[in-house]
Structure formats: C-alpha cells, structure tokens
Symmetry: C2
Subunit: 719 residues, 2 copies
Amino acid sequence: MSFLASLLVGCGATFADEGMWLLNHPPLERLKKDYGAQLPGGTLSKEWLLHLQQSSVRFNSGGSGSFVSAKGLVLTNHHVGADSLQKLGDASHNYYRDGFAAATLEDELRCSDLELNVLISIEDVTARIGAAVAPDLSPEDAFVARRAAMASIEKESLAATGLRSDVITLYQGAQYHLYRLKKYTDVRLVFAPEQQIAFFGGDADNFEFPRYNLDICFFRVYENGQPAVVPHHLAWSKQSVAQGELVFVSGHPGHTDRASTLRELTAMRDRQIPFTLGVLNRLEVLLGSFSGEGPEEARQAMGDLFGVQNGRKNREGILAGLLDPNTMARKSQAEQRLRQILAAQATAAGGPPRATPFEKIEQAEDTNAQVALRYNLLEAAVGFNSQYFGNARTILRIADEASKPSGERLREYRDSNRESLEQQLFSEEPIYDAFEAVKLADSLTFLAVSLGHEDPLVKRVLAGQSPRARAAQCVRGTTLGTRAVVAGQASRPDGRKALVAGGKSAVDASDDSMLSLAKIIDMESRSLRKVVETASEIKRQSHAEIAQAEFAAAGAAVYPDATFTLRLAFGTVKGYEQDGQRIPAITTFAGLFQRARAKRDTPPFNLPKRWLDLRPTLEQNEAFLRTPFNFACTADIIGGNSGSPVVSRQGELVGLIFDGNIQSLVLDIAYDDTQARAVSVDAAGIVAALRTVYASQAGAQRVVLEITPQQTAPSSTPR
Amino acid sequence: MSFLASLLVGCGATFADEGMWLLNHPPLERLKKDYGAQLPGGTLSKEWLLHLQQSSVRFNSGGSGSFVSAKGLVLTNHHVGADSLQKLGDASHNYYRDGFAAATLEDELRCSDLELNVLISIEDVTARIGAAVAPDLSPEDAFVARRAAMASIEKESLAATGLRSDVITLYQGAQYHLYRLKKYTDVRLVFAPEQQIAFFGGDADNFEFPRYNLDICFFRVYENGQPAVVPHHLAWSKQSVAQGELVFVSGHPGHTDRASTLRELTAMRDRQIPFTLGVLNRLEVLLGSFSGEGPEEARQAMGDLFGVQNGRKNREGILAGLLDPNTMARKSQAEQRLRQILAAQATAAGGPPRATPFEKIEQAEDTNAQVALRYNLLEAAVGFNSQYFGNARTILRIADEASKPSGERLREYRDSNRESLEQQLFSEEPIYDAFEAVKLADSLTFLAVSLGHEDPLVKRVLAGQSPRARAAQCVRGTTLGTRAVVAGQASRPDGRKALVAGGKSAVDASDDSMLSLAKIIDMESRSLRKVVETASEIKRQSHAEIAQAEFAAAGAAVYPDATFTLRLAFGTVKGYEQDGQRIPAITTFAGLFQRARAKRDTPPFNLPKRWLDLRPTLEQNEAFLRTPFNFACTADIIGGNSGSPVVSRQGELVGLIFDGNIQSLVLDIAYDDTQARAVSVDAAGIVAALRTVYASQAGAQRVVLEITPQQTAPSSTPR
C-alpha cells in the first residue's frame, strides 16, 4: 500500500482491494475503474448480486458458507463445522478427528443447535430509529429508546414476514439497516475429511501461507424433514483460479475496529487485548492439560482448544499491529485529518464550543476501563466458564425479562430473537461433568485472584469453599443441561424446559446449584452491563458524528466496520514477498507431500492414514500433483469470513476462504495489501481430493455428483 | 494430620513425619520415639549420617542425586538430567526423547555446564555474622554489612580448603551456617531411557499417583579426565521397599514458605503466584506453539516446556492450598499463637512499645508490592527472555563489579563464586537464534504491555521498533553465546571471553546489541534490586526475631525452611484415600501396561517402541509384572528433592524420588500427611527394567553390573 493511501485509511477514501462492502452498496465505481477491462457485462448486475447474496449462508455459531446444490447442500470449513463435529461424537465416534461421510441421505446426522441464515432483504431504517431517539435524551435514555425502536421494528417485521429480522448498527451508529433472514434450524452433517488434512500443520501453520489444508465440511439444510429446495446456489467452476484473476468473496466478517479512534486503539493495546490474551493463555494451558488426560478427554476439549488457539494467535497478530510504530503513526495521521475536518465544520457552524466526539469517546473509554475487569468476569462470564452456568443465566433472565415489554428487555431477550435463543438453550449436545468442573474451578480461581479473596461478591460466590470444591458442588447440583451418560452413574433429569415453562415463580423457588450461582451475581452483572451499554451509546453517537463528517467531506463511497452480516469483498489472486522470498499465490498437492516429508511426517505435519496409504500412488499421478490446493488473494476479509465462497466474475465457485495469513491480522485495524492475504481452498482441489483420495467413500462420491452434475471428467488440470 | 497437630504447624512443634532436617541436627529424639522399635543400632549414627551425606549429590541446575558406585556413577532423574540431555542433542540426535546409553567409558558424553556438589562439612557461623552487623544499623547498611561478612567468610574458607564455600541463611536469618562443598565440573552422561517411559503420562500424570515412570538418568563425575574415585556411595538394596517400611530421603529441597506470615501468604496468593502463573501460561503457550513448528523446534523447546509445565502445575497446587479456607484457618491460628508469645515476651521485657516483627514484615511486603512488577520484568528478566541477554548482563556486571571488594559486590559476583559463575557463562551448548528471537519478542511484548508503551524505559528498550523487529535485531547483532550452526549461514565469532578479559573498558566500548540492551536497563534494575534486598533484610531480621521467640517458647527441635541445601527427611511407605478410593502405596509393571491399554496407547500414555515391541513377552513374565515400579511415602519433600536417594534403615538405596502427588504441593506452606505423598521409582524396578527391557543395550548392562556388583541373579521379586 502506498504512503498516500495509508494516510487515508479509515477516512472513507479507499484504495486497491480494500473494503467489506454492503450488498446494497456494492463498490461499482471502484471496480469499473480498477478492473473494468476484466469485467463481463453481467458481473455485479442486480441479478448477479442477488444470486450471490441468496447463495450465501451464515453459520450463527460464527462462520460463513454457501449453497452448492439446489437440494440445500452447504459448503463451509471443517473448522466452522468443528463444534458440530465434536458434539455429534461420543466416546466411540470422533468425527472431528476422523471425519464423516454419509453414504445416503438417511445417514446424514442432525446437529442439535446449529442455525443457518440466508439474507433475503435489506431495508434502511435509519430515519425511523433517528425519529425515536430525541436529540436531547441522556445517554441512558437514548440507549433505552434506541433499543426499544429496534426491537419494535424487528417484532413488526417478524410478524409481517415470518423472517428473522435484525436491525444492524452500521458505521458505528450512523446508519441502521433492517436485515431479514431466512432461518434453517434442521441442519445435518453430510461430509467432513479428517481433521489432520483439514488442519494440516495445526496451530503452527494456522494464519500462515503457503498452506495445504482441505479445510472443508458439507452440511445440508432440511425443511419439514426433507432436503430444502433452495432458489439459489453457486455453480462449481470447471476451472481453477489463475494467478492475477479477479475474485469476489461473499461472507460474514465478524468484527473490525477500523473506525476506532486512537484512544480506542490504545485501550485495545494496553488493556483489552492483554486481558484477553491472559485469559486465552490460561484456557489454552487448561484445555491442553485436560486433553493430555486421555483420548476421550482430548475429544471433549478439541473444539474449545482450537477456538482458543485460533483466538490467541489472532489477538497476538492484532497486538503486533498495535505495537508497530508505523501502523500507529498512520492511524494517528488519519485521526489528525478527521479532527481537522470536524474542527472546520464546527467553526463553520458557529455556536459555543462543545466537547468533540473524540473527547466524548475518551470519556466513555475511561468509564469502560473502570468497570472492565468486573464486567468481563461477571457479565462476560469469564469467571464462570461452564455451559451449565450459561444455561442457568439464560433461564434466570428469561424469567426476569418476561414481565417487561419486548423493547425494554436486554436485547437478546427480545421477542423476535426468542426462537434462536431457545434453539441454543435447549441444545441436546451432551455436557461432560468432569470437563465442566475443571473449567469452572479454573475460572472461579481466576475470579478470586482477580477481584481478591476478600471481595464480598467473591465470598458469596465461593460460599466458604475452595474454588475447586465449590465448582464440583455446583456441577453436581445442577440439572440445567444434557448430562453425558457416564458408566456407573445414574442419569439425571433435565430441568431446563420445566423452569422456563414455570416462569419466575419456578425460577425463584428452584435451588438448582448453578441457578443459585447465577442469582448471586446477576444484580451486579446487570448494573455493570448498564454502565457499559451507556458508554457504548455515547461512543455510538460520537462515532456517528465522526462518520457524518467523513461522509460530508470525503463524498466517496465508504463501507462500515464489520458486523457479522453479509459483505462483498474482492481481490486478486496474488503472491507476496516475505523476508526477501517470493511466495507464490497458489499451492498444489505436490507441495503438501513435500511439506509433510520436510517435517518428517511429525504431528502436526502428519497425514491422515488414508492419505498416507495412498501417497505412493498419488505421487505417481502428475495431474493430481499439479492440481491447485490452496491459494492467496488480496480480498479484504477477517474472522467470520471462514467458509465464505470465493467466486469468479461469472459468479461460479472457485474457492473457499479458510484463513488469512499472519500479516492479515492487522486488517482488524487497517487494510493493507502489501503482504496481507486471504487464504482459500481451491474448488478444483476439493473436487480432485474427493474424487481421488476419497474414491472409496460412497458419501464423498455422492457429494461430488451433487456439486458437479454437469461434469463428467475430472477437472484437476489448472489452466 | 490431627487438628491439634495442624494448629501447631509452623510453630516449631512437629508431628508425624514432618521435617526437612539439617544433617547436623537430625531428628534423633523424634525418630526414637516414633520409630524406635524399627531402628537398628547403626541407623542415624554419626557414621551412617556421614556416609549418607557424602553419598548425596546436588545438581546445581536444580536437583538432587547420589553416588551409586565407587567410580563416581551418579543416579538422578531423567527430568533432572533433561537440560543436559537436551543440550547434548542436535538436529540428528534427540537424547532427551530417545534416551542414551554409553556402551563404554569412552562413549560417555561430557556436559558442558553441569556442576555437581557434595557437602563435606557444616560450620555454624551465626555468631561471626551477628558480630559484623551492629544492631543499630539501618536495614540498607545491615544488608551491606551482612553480605560483606558472608563473602569474607566464604573467601577465607575457599582459600583455606579449596572447597566451594557458601554461607547459608537458615530459619529466615536466625542462623547462618557455612557449607563446604566439593565441586565436580566434569560430568558425563552415561545412561538415560526414552522420555516416554521416564515421563509416561506426561503433564497429565505429573504430580499424580499412582504412577509408572522410569524417571532415571545416570551421570558420572570425572577428575583429571578419569572417573572420580568417591569415598562414599550407596549400596543398591537387594530388596524392594515394603508397605509400612520406614525410609529416609537425603536431598536438596529447594524452597518452602512454612515460616511465612499470613501477610506473606496472602501476597503469594493475591500477587506473586497469579503473576507467575500468568507468565508461565504465556510461556507454555509460546513454547507449545514453537514446538508445533516441527520436530527440531520441538527438540529445542522440550526442556523449557517441561520446566514451565512443571512450574505451572506446582504453582496451581500451592495456590489451591492458599485458596483452601481450612489451610488458611490453620495458618491464621498458628500465627495468632506466635503473636501471643511475642506479646508476652515484650511485656516481660518491658520498655516502650515498638513495631512487632509482623508489622515490619507487612511494611516490607508493601514495599515489595510497589516494585514487584518492574523488578520481575527487569531484574528477574521476565521481560528479556533470552540466553544471550543473560550472558550479556553477566558480562556487564562482572565488568562493573570488578572494581569493588568481593564483599561489596552483588552476591553472585563474589570471588568465591567466580568459578561456578564462569562455568555457566561460558557454556558451549548451542543457542538457536530463531528460538531466541521468538522468546525475546514475546517477552519484550509483555514488557511493553505491562509497563505501557509510553514508559520511558520501554521506549528506550524498543528504540522505535516493534517488539518483534527489535528482538530480531538484538539476536542478530550479538556474539555472546555459542550460536548453533545453521545451514547456509556463516558462523560467527564468540565474543564472551574477550569481553570478560577486556574488563570494563572493553565492555564500555562494545556495541554488541544484547550488551547494549543490558546497559539500557541495568541502572534501574540495580536500584530495584536494592529496594528488594533492603526489604528482604527487614524481613530477615523480623523472621529471626520470630524464630528466636519460637525457639525460646517451644524448646523443641525445629527445622528451617528449605534452602536448596542437603536435608534429611523420613517417612513411611504408605498409600492413601482419595475420593473414597484406596490408593495402594506401590505400583508394578503390570499396572503400567494396564494404564497404557486403558488410555489406548495414546500420547502421553504411549510406550516407547522398545517397550511396545517387548510388551507381548513382558506380559508373559510374571516375576517382571509383579516387580514394584513406583511407590509413595510420607517423607517431607518439595521441588529440588527430585533425584534424591531413598534409603532403608540400613542406608541402602531402595528408591529414587521423582515427584510428589498433587496434594503434596501444599507442603510448600504446611506439612500434611493425610494425602500428601512423595513419589519414587523403586530401586528394584530400575534394575528389573535395565536387565529386562534394556537387555540388548550394552550401556545399560554396564550400569547394572556397576550398581549391583555383588548380585548375580535378578532381584525383581518383592518381599
């Protein structure tokens, strides 16, 4: 990225392949200007965009995907499916590690708490929200008024359309859009490869490139017990991507901080990320240690462990960016420019001097800093790490919120979200008591150590016991979850539905141990949340003010920070230089075998048995060896984009996002295309692997026929 | 432990098998009283004690051992030898993982920085130290006077005897003893088994029982290039231990906090251990992640990783004790009693009221709390995690301290310690630059995050670069270590000896990058050390006062807190109850195979190839299967005791301490024999394994012949 461009990052003016664009505001002008020669007529047409939009799928558990057949077949990453793979297993089935292939439709396994969403329409409701929030309201009242307006728009839309309806806050509060989503809750597992090839190189290669990962997983959505017939799905490209090719990514980037002020960035650098890294390091050690107790323990902890390692490497990457004097200097210059624009606007408007939005954000950050530790431990439940506790608190709050109008409730308890909330709460995935006790004991220890043993709340929480003893007691004494059956132990009733049905009186009367724990902290936890929500309202108003100034000054199309809603990114298939070495954009299966040998087939660079057994044969197969496996491109992505389809100008599937390189982690705060790259599995590589390595698996061949109905011969030769 | 006993813990009155006794004050009365019937005449005689004392060996790297042949053969743990095993290896030899066996004397491998000590004599120098420190000196001056007196006694003794001479502070400062030690610096590796059997069960089983670990390693000390002829060594018992048998442990417990006041314990609980755990968690994640990059990286990080995991589990165990309301209540009652004794003595003595030692300790703790973070980051070098940095600082300080009289120098730079210091500084074990850069980058990041990016010292340390860039630069630009040869990179000179020889002017003129880093922080680091040393002097005087009161009131024999000097413990071979289950005292090889199968031979419960190949045969060998492998006893041990010999009443070797169970970790602050157990490898189990499993290894058979010269038949049958 040139120095000029870097000066302007975060100011609305975008260069190169920057941007996570709204589907209703695609970057048409920019693309015509930069890529006009490459664009066929249909690309980015209304129909092209709608087709891509409705072929895209959001995994509510935190990832993206796409329809790849008319019968509701969904392609995503193995690591997006990991949670389901892990939960569907038991002591004798480790689908996460060993993979899964449903030979017939009947063999597809239903996931008990997965919700998939497809974006149907977008409506701008900024004016309606604005009208509901009078400009003279205090931040507390403004927050309440805004929340009520959002809930009422959502409720009305749900009633009118039957679709999940979410009002999304964009540009930190400068715009509000109503997203209507079709929901699929009957989602079944179709195919997953072995974790060892999906995540070849493990934590060591995570966020690195070159890569050699078959990070894929197929699900299918059902309606009324039958495969859903979906109106849009992506055709599988007959050709692999080529170096220099323009590609598009349609997915759900989770969260970015590009509009953050310097003060917000230093708070991330000095307080938030260090705290989070401390928690993640602690958890990684705990989960690693629990995994070491045996293969079944390792299976139970696998999903959490991957998430924690991934999160840790991610935060380290962002922190490295924040500790890089160049990045911070660019941010500082950009902010200087915005401050000047605002000052000029204020001078032009006249009137008495008032606090600038930057100053208001600083005050809000001060407030956050004061309550952050307790907020994280209590409301974010870092001190109460147990699925049972999560269920207990949800049940407690459903009962407490029930008497309020939908718009006045804590936002996740609004009427329009009830179905999704219950889908999670009533999950029937088994919970393992020994694992819960270890996690809860560790987090209660962290609570006691962080707040001090003499803290009155800590004393009430521990009730005169050591954290270990108290955790064991709370896990033993709860019925709020599907307890995994342990040999030699009696099974227990599941108290969740009765308590929710019984409402407040039932919840008040219950002496369930985990519910009692939730009751102990809920008053303080709610009041901390209120403080943080009020600070966030102040920040929202201030950011909206900054964004408006930016719109007015820049006059150019801008995109909002990521919000885990559908966005369109674009970029070029392109390598980069690192430590003086040229890294090519595309890897092949030949590279996979080379890397495994270079690392002496030692974990995490060992191939699954199926691949190892076939290696001598595969190494004779020149066409297979040359097939593209993974590739890098400059598209602007971030966490949440995992599983996003990569499509060609023709709108055909050419790849599947599964990672970004280590240099891409800084994209959280600023775009850069010098080295930052999105990393994808090549669509041709997927088909080649399924056809060749998984040739003996009926379930894999069923998938191949479904995704390439028109293709009769293998298409593993790159152009 | 009975409630009565528990009330008195830490007050000098001891019960059951408590105590880490001084070799010159063995617990004769207590043993006669409790075990009189079991004691043959010779046991604990002067000769018996001297033989045990001079058969015992201290590993200066942090462990214990014993002579087991007249030709200087030393028995210790695999994990005590780990550092040497790791350092002797290279990219094509992984002795730590694969083990080692020297078929002949000539094959024994010399360790480049190992120093072994044997305690020759003890002299009480309390009076001489007391005379040198006038009672009216300020704490600063008292510290300096005491340090000078200690250095001068040591220097005088070294000159007179040629022996390493260390003045040891006992009873927190109530007594000072001069220890004279014979030093061995030519130490060679003789035999080690595979890490997988030495540490079967890995981190999961570490600090647990039942156990099945062949945690052994044999070294040999040399003098003048020949095996040293040692005057004392332990005979290998012909019989295994029996349930209920009285045994003795002679070793070097590293550190305990039993005399700590409540205020010191809460500081451990609320500040020190949480900080340390944060650092250890961070390091464990970093080392685990580095290890994941490949087998060679894993080999380089193995030793550090084991140490960090071990330290983490240890701190967690102590913290669990400190968070246990019962333990703290006992401590509180004990302190109450001591406060009453002191108050009664003060009343009896008359005079104006003055600060109690407890109050003075509180003030010193306040001081420590204020400087702890910076002290840990700078002087304890938590912010500068690199072997190169350690060397650089040692070189800088040797030059700076040279102009002062020995007694006025920082303690480790006194004349009498110079040889040991150089043994470490000039180690020729290879240093791996990529590993150093990763560790230094991580610790510099921690430094910046902990002190804030705007801290003036942080700014000077980072010199306008990101931590990653700065670390890479410092590692590239130093010559202060034996750089491992990397293919394709030119080898570099080693600047250590020239700089030490060149003295202050050479050091001042040097622009070595790591030396420059050390220079940046040394002034502040030294001043922080001075604050901490002064606080420790106040604590020392106060603890001495408490101890004197205790001596006067209790009148009974007491033992001092552990000081990594030779101590005698005793106990009974004994199982315990846990969660309602009876855990037998002794495990067998049959149990090893059962556990591996129960865990499906999955790491860390997988057997090394040699064991796996032989398993079918071994499982037919009833005598082998019944042989005791590991055992638990009530002896009072702690970290540092690893590798200690366990001897019978006859003074023969029956076992080898390698661990304590999880309940034993609380021994750091209070003895308990309800569940706390020391864990040993059975001596008969060692011989059985060497004869049977390692039958084909000439090096193993050479060891067997040397340790059991008188035995012709296998002795693997337990009594």
